[in-house]
């Protein structure tokens, strides 16, 4: 049975462990950048196309009746505006739910004159002249305030963009460190086999034959080590997804930490890249070593 010219190590070499750890970190960084990118999109899409009209209770006259009149007037304006596909006031329960974290239960707020909120949706792709709409709302309901969330969307987009670029930066640094580790491990391994390279050279092996024997050995080794690291990272994301499905909110305010199947597939790029780096490094190192021989 023909065996590989380069010996297969039975135990994991220390440098393989380093490659596994670096690949784990690289896969985590890829997952984090994917989650950050998804969060940026979700946040932007979630608020884009939404309008909120806040109608304050009038200072004069009956607050309840005045509020109801202004809400009705605002709804007429909204529903008659081209591009707005839906406009509806929040129910009392929804309003109470919103203020509960700050003002407590129903007992305290029962007698307070709460403003009324109207949610409106803009049809995707439609343009609404918000300045004109705000003016028309003021005319129909003087105590109304139009909020198109542009301020928050801008802030959230900036935050998400910062998160995504930070994740890319971390990913780049880890990728460089991983590439350097794989390259170093390959060179160290080759040094241990220098006598064998010299023997094969002496026996008349072409440079390509020797390089081929070594590059596939180190390709497989790096692929296995980095594959283990990426698999651990995938496990972390799967566990996070499982916990979130079970109702455990891992980190409040952050998007779900679980990766979708398509996103998990991106983690395969880590062992693939590690294997390619090892293969290239081994080939270049062997060819460089052979140039040193007569």
């Amino acid at each position: 049975m023909k065996r590989s010219i380069v010996p297969e190590e039975k135990a994991m070499a220390p440098l393989d462990v380093v490659i596994t750890v670096m690949a784990f970190l690289a896969a985590l960084a890829i997952g984090a950048s994917l989650i950050a990118g998804r969060a940026a999109t979700t946040w932007s899409e979630g608020l884009a196309g939404k309008l909120t009209v806040q109608v304050l209770p009038p200072k004069e006259g009956s607050p309840h009746q005045g509020l109801a009149n202004e809400v009705e007037a605002a709804l007429i304006v909204l529903r008659s505006t081209p591009g707005i596909v839906h406009a509806a006031p929040l129910s009392e329960d929804e309003l109470l739910k919103l203020v509960r974290p700050w003002l407590g239960g129903e007992g305290l707020v029962a007698d307070l004159p709460l403003p009324q909120l109207i949610d409106a949706d803009i049809a995707p792709g439609s343009e609404v002249d918000l300045r004109d709409l705000a003016m028309r709302l003021k005319e129909a309901a003087p105590d109304s305030v139009l909020d198109d969330h542009s301020h928050w969307i801008g802030r959230l987009r900036d935050l998400a963009r910062t998160l995504v670029w930070s994740a890319y930066g971390v990913l780049l640094l880890i990728a460089i460190a991983t590439a350097a580790t794989v390259s170093f491990a390959t060179r160290a391994g080759l040094e241990a086999h220098e006598e064998m390279v010299a023997l094969l050279h002496q026996m008349g092996a072409q440079a390509g034959f020797i390089a081929h024997a070594f590059e596939w050995h180190y390709f497989r080794a790096a692929l296995m080590a980095a594959g283990a690291g990426a698999a651990f990272a995938a496990l972390v994301f799967l566990v996070a997804g499982g916990l979130e499905s079970a109702g455990v909110d891992a980190v409040p305010f952050l998007p779900p930490l679980a990766l979708r199947p398509v996103e998990l597939a991106w983690l395969i790029s880590v062992p693939a890249a590690a294997g390619a780096i090892a293969l290239g490094t081994a080939r270049l190192s062997v060819l460089a070593a052979l140039r040193g021989f007569h």
Binding site: R3, L200, M203, H294
Partner: protein, 223 residues
């Protein structure tokens, strides 16, 4: 086959270990290279096997001047030479079979093509029942026989051997010399470096002796 003209060799800035060495090995010849330890035998073999480049002089191998040979031509020249190293240089994790088959793999032959040849050769050197053993589990003599089998398996045009019978008993030694003689009879040029006077005396072969890096031709067999 091999021509040396005024060849000198020094390592770095050290003294010359070979001086004005001139000789010719005709195709199909059988030659012993003798001399005391340190006389330069191993260095001479390294020059012939293209493991080293001479400091001066002209080395011609298979009609090719090595000074002007292209680097890309050297692997093909090396494949025409079988070398038995003094320290065997076997690959420790490969079986006896795979070690012997290595030159054939390097030559690009498929396993199915050479399996029988390798098995027959291993049986000839007395290791037919140790084909799957790896070198660390074999004795020095057994390792030496694997090294010899590896050197001859591709039927090289030139076989050079550094002390090939140093670790085997006289019976195996005689058998190995018969193997070399058989190869020689089939056309392989053979050069054996040895300390073994008995081996040299028993063979009707040319002897070249190195003394302090200079070559002294001692004996040429009578036709």
């Amino acid at each position: 086959m091999v021509r040396f003209e005024n060849v000198g060799m020094r390592y770095g800035a050290g003294p010359e270990v070979l001086r004005d060495v001139t000789f010719v090995l005709e195709a199909g010849s059988f030659t012993f290279l003798t001399g005391l330890s340190g006389a330069g035998k191993t260095t001479l073999l390294k020059l012939i096997s293209i493991a080293e480049r001479p400091s001066r002089g002209l080395v011609t191998l298979f009609g090719q001047d090595l000074a002007t040979a292209k680097r890309s031509d050297l692997p093909a020249l090396r494949r025409r030479i079988g070398v038995v190293f003094q320290d065997f240089r076997l690959i420790g994790h490969l079986s006896a079979f795979d070690n012997v088959a290595l030159p054939l793999r390097i030559a690009g032959r498929h396993e199915a093509d050479y399996t029988r040849d390798v098995e027959e050769l291993l049986a000839w050197v007395g290791l037919g029942d140790r084909m799957d053993a790896v070198p660390p589990t074999l004795s020095g003599g057994e390792q030496q026989r694997i090294a010899i089998a590896r050197a001859v398996v591709a039927k090289p045009d030139l076989l050079i051997a550094d002390e090939p019978t140093g670790n085997v008993d006289s019976e195996i030694g005689a058998r190995l010399i018969r193997l070399f003689a058989e190869l020689n009879r089939l056309g392989t040029t053979v050069l054996i470096a040895t300390h073994d006077r008995g081996l040299v005396e028993s063979a009707r072969a040319r002897e070249m002796r190195l003394v302090d890096g200079r070559l002294v031709e001692l004996r040429t067999p009578r036709p």
